[in-house]
């Protein structure tokens, strides 16, 4: 009988530890705020510094940051945690998933805090780039707060420009020049029909893969530069198969074909670092890596070339949400509010090479001197003035993105007619929008 009791006790212990509630208190009386994110490992030291700064200024709160690899894994973990009532206080959420979280009533509206006693003034809200606010909202309501911004610019190898007889201080200004330079910088030294060096590469990935959405994200600036839009304002039909869309995709198709990118690597950073690629689309998050990786040659960033209609680049970022299961929403908000203060944004931008989310950071003296010393970073900051956010899609956003990706893949890898590929894709997307409207 004794043994039986012992066994039962052990079993109980086993179940207790496996299903036990997570540890709440910090042990020193501070309130613990859990924060889930997917920052790349090179950003984590900067994040730790940011958190240390916050904790120093707010001694009653401890931020417990937890890294969850990639956005896909993060959302899957969030779902399970919401179901099992173990959601974090704050989490990164990609705009595409806001709908699900709102419908499950899992997250707070940001207005609940902004209008509250420890809120934000209208001037403070207006200071944030409107494109970011648009992207952080779902159906016109703000459910998340941007933590930092990112956009795209043109990375180019200045040495290879010189070698090809191009002026490294005059990067391509428009689509025609981009295409022309790309061809000029493409080299087939031994004449065997295989390019040893390409002038440019496009982020073409399998539409079905984890990078499909990433490809679409980088195509959108081209769509806007041609004067196009992804979807109409009423969200009743998609617009990417317009003339502008066809022009943008035709540019991709021609570059893809002329540079024979189908037989070239998609690891553009490897190709660029080994000086076998002269230009690439890239974002500010790689700057800390490049400072050491690209030491052996002269490189720089330039604004994205202008399209037939206008200058444009895409803005993105990471957005913080507060979960309704949180026991400390006030403290969680305190952290978010603290992060978006201009001086902390300046600190965070300098440490991480992400872009600030508000205009007034440009007035912070440390930030100004940092910009003067870092011309590559300055390109991205200057671009913020004409950075656009993709209009959030209320329903079936992920599927529609997939359909766009399919069209991009068909026109490049499949070498199909851009108009036909886009029309076929738009038809599928519109069917989804109609089914959602019912």
């Amino acid at each position: 009988m004794k043994k039986l009791v012992l066994c039962a006790l052990l079993l109980g212990l086993l179940l207790q530890t496996s299903c036990g509630k997570k540890e709440e208190a910090a042990g020193d009386g501070r309130t613990v705020v859990t924060f889930w994110h997917s920052f790349v490992s090179s950003t984590v030291p900067a994040l730790n510094e940011l958190i240390a700064k916050f904790e120093k200024e707010n001694p009653a709160i401890q931020i417990r940051a937890q890294y969850i690899p990639t956005g896909d894994a993060l959302i899957q973990k969030l779902i399970t945690s919401v179901q099992s009532k173990t959601a974090p206080d704050i989490s990164w959420v990609h705009s595409d998933y806001l709908q699900d979280l709102v419908e499950a009533d899992a997250i707070y509206k940001m207005d609940d805090f902004i209008a509250g006693p420890d809120g934000l003034s209208e001037a403070e809200m207006a200071d944030i780039y409107p494109a970011l606010i648009q992207y952080a909202s779902w159906r016109g309501t703000l459910y998340s707060m941007p933590m930092e911004a990112t956009n795209l610019a043109l990375l180019y190898n200045r040495d290879l420009f010189r070698k090809a007889g191009l002026d490294p201080d005059r990067p391509p200004q428009d689509w025609r020049e981009l295409h022309e330079y790309a061809k000029k910088l493409t080299v087939d030294a031994d004449g065997d029909g295989i390019f040893e060096q390409v002038g440019f590469s496009l982020p073409v990935f399998p539409a079905t893969g984890p990078l499909g959405g990433w490809m679409v994200w980088q195509w959108l600036p081209f769509l806007w530069q041609a004067g196009g839009e992804l979807i109409n304002e009423e969200q009743t039909s998609v617009l990417y198969n317009s003339e502008a869309g066809v022009a943008a995709l035709r540019l991709w198709q021609e570059i893809y074909r002329d540079l024979k990118l189908s037989s070239y690597t998609t690891d553009y950073d490897v190709a660029f670092a080994s000086q076998r690629q002269a230009m690439a689309l890239d974002g500010p998050w790689n700057l800390p890596r490049y400072a050491t990786l690209l030491k052996h040659f002269d490189w720089g960033f330039a604004p994205l070339p202008q399209g037939p209609a206008k200058k444009a680049t895409i803005i993105g970022g990471e957005y913080l949400t507060i979960f309704k299961q949180s026991k400390h929403p006030a403290e969680a908000w305190k952290f978010i509010k603290w992060i978006i203060q201009p001086e902390n944004q300046a600190f965070w931008a300098i440490k991480s090479s992400y872009l600030p989310i508000n205009h007034s950071v440009l007035q912070v003296p440390e930030f100004q001197s940092y910009l003067a010393a870092h011309p590559a970073f300055k390109v991205f900051v200057d671009e913020l003035e004409y950075s656009l956010a993709s209009r959030p899609i209320d329903f079936h956003g992920l599927e529609i993105t997939r359909h766009v990706a399919e069209a991009l893949e068909k026109a490049t890898v499949g070498d199909q007619d851009p108009a036909a590929a886009l029309n076929e894709s738009a038809q599928k997307s519109n069917a989804l929008l109609q089914s959602a409207a019912k």
Partner: protein, 300 residues
């Protein structure tokens, strides 16, 4: 008489306190097995008639809508076709190569143990790590495969980015990865064949080919059958390698059934539809296995 009574007492005792003990010791496994295997099997069957996005606490009944959507989706049939191509590519190739290697390693070869370990090594490498390595090897510019081919004056394709070569590249890697298990099974089967048969055949003047065809193959058939059923099932379930190596691309040419299921379950959160796909896979595999049993019964 005494013997039966003793067994009876023993079984009585097992039903009593010993039974309780046994149950107690088994309970962790039982709990885990029920929670993570039995329950999901029934739950996903239930889900296949419902619509559920995992977030909400409610599921809505949709009848057979998930199944009819599946059968009407042209993409689904492309995916089924891709899965069949993958299976027909991997299973026979895998079995032929692993039998060949097992047969050769069953002879007196120098460094037999080392070779067997070397052939088995890919099995224990994590599939994701292996796929990442193969992705580098297949890289058109920096990859080992095209570098090797260049010595033979062949210009290799961009393996993973061309519709006609991606599936082949995938099959090649899958065979490399899973061949080891089958090789070990075949080796065990080969060692189970008594030497006396071969000796008798030699006395009768049989050549190497006759011996292989008349003795090895028939006596190995239970192993062959087992391997065939298992490889068929696992190739229908291929996912991890596809995910890392090609992500279903280019142009959906390597999108297989479980990848399609994963997409709907964990990307679009259509758990009902994904469950319907899972049950389609389950029923297909049962039918295939039953057919094999029926067909092979006379020969095994």
């Amino acid at each position: 008489m005494t013997v039966t009574r003793r067994t009876k007492t023993a079984s009585n005792r097992l039903q009593g306190r010993d039974g309780l003990h046994a149950l107690l010791f088994l309970s962790p496994t039982l709990v885990i097995f029920t929670t993570f295997v039995i329950f999901p099997v029934f739950f996903s069957f239930y889900l296949s008639f419902h619509q559920w996005n995992m977030f909400s606490s409610q599921t809505s009944f949709v009848g057979l809508a998930n199944y009819s959507r599946m059968l009407r989706d042209p993409e689904f049939w492309t995916v089924v076709k891709n899965t069949l191509v993958y299976t027909l590519g991997t299973v026979p190739l895998n079995m032929a190569i692993s039998l060949l290697v097992a047969f050769m390693l069953n002879q007196k070869v120098f460094g037999k143990k080392f070779l067997r370990t070397a052939f088995f090594a890919p099995v224990i490498i994590s599939p994701v790590a292996a796929a990442v390595i193969w992705r580098w090897m297949y890289d058109p510019n920096f990859g080992l495969v095209n570098y090797m081919l260049s010595f033979a004056g062949i210009r290799g394709p961009n393996w993973l980015n061309e519709s006609h070569s991606a599936m082949f590249a995938l099959i090649l890697m899958a065979v490399w990865k899973t061949m080891g298990t089958n090789m070990v099974l075949f080796s065990a089967g080969l060692q189970g064949i008594p030497d006396t048969y071969y000796e008798a055949a030699e006395i009768d003047g049989a050549g190497a080919w006759t011996k292989f065809w008349r003795i090895t193959v028939p006596l190995l058939s239970p192993t062959t059958f087992f391997i065939m059923v298992m490889s068929l099932i696992s190739s229908f379930q291929a996912f991890d390698v596809v995910y890392v190596l090609t992500s279903g691309g280019p142009l959906g040419s390597t999108k297989v059934l479980v990848f399609y299921l994963y997409e709907h379950a964990f990307k679009f959160f259509e758990m009902g539809y994904a469950s319907a796909i899972a049950y389609f896979l389950f029923i297909t595999l049962i039918i295939l296995t039953l057919l094999q049993i029926k067909f092979m019964k006379s020969r095994v």
